[in-house]
């Protein structure tokens, strides 16, 4: 059984990467893709 905290930490990392891409990418299509991430 995988602890729930591990999933929460992974979700936070992926969300943070999505926010980074949303902020730093210049291409609008890539920004939309990062919001799906």
């Amino acid at each position: 059984m995988v602890p729930t905290n591990y999933y929460i930490v992974l979700s936070a990392i992926l969300f943070g990467l999505g926010v980074l891409a949303f902020v730093f990418k210049r291409n609008i299509i890539t920004i939309f893709m990062s919001s799906s991430c």
């Binding site: 995988v2 992974l10 936070a12 990467l17 891409a21 210049r26 291409n27």
Partner: protein, 167 residues
């Protein structure tokens, strides 16, 4: 280390590397392919959680339909490598400050919500496909139908925007 934990770490590493690749790639097509890797890894994580229906939807809808749509749009617009310009001197410090504030807010929310999530998981059971379909078509039928209406409006809007006047 249990096999489930090992699979989780492998899938989590694939998802994080795919998301990092999405940011680092300069061509949109490469970013889209990286996003497909993230979607497939997430589907594996859903399977690990025992949610077969959500995993199948993740592959069919996100890995299939949404990604085909993205690649179609990239090729239709012929989007090339993105250009980098010099960052404004005003935007740098302000963006850094806002990023730190957002990270702090997210961290505080995670710390506060961890106990709530754990108690919910202990009390509730994992919803099966039958339970999910029952919720969609009984309890949340109006929001579900409203979503389909929203998609219909988006389709009509796309047709109007793409329509060209004929001489």
């Amino acid at each position: 280390m249990t096999p489930q934990l090992a699979i989780f770490f492998v899938l989590a590493a694939i998802a994080v590397l795919g998301a990092a690749s999405l940011i680092l790639q300069k061509h949109p097509i490469h970013s889209a392919l990286s996003l497909i890797v993230v979607m497939v890894a997430l589907a594996g994580l859903y399977l690990l959680l025992g949610s077969e229906f959500v995993a199948a939807v993740q592959i069919i809808v996100y890995g299939g339909a949404i990604m085909v749509l993205f690649i179609f749009v990239i090729m239709l617009l012929n989007a090339g490598v993105e250009e980098h310009t010099s960052i404004s001197k005003m935007a740098g410090p302000a963006g850094l400050l806002l990023a730190v504030a957002l990270a702090g807010f997210i961290a505080a929310s995670i710390v506060r919500s961890t106990s709530t999530v754990q108690s919910t998981l202990q009390n509730g059971q994992i919803a099966s496909t039958r339970d999910i379909s029952s919720m969609i078509f009984k309890d949340f039928v109006y929001p579900f139908e409203l979503t389909s209406f929203l998609i219909l409006v988006a389709i009509l809007g796309a047709i109007v925007l793409a329509h060209r006047e004929r001489n």
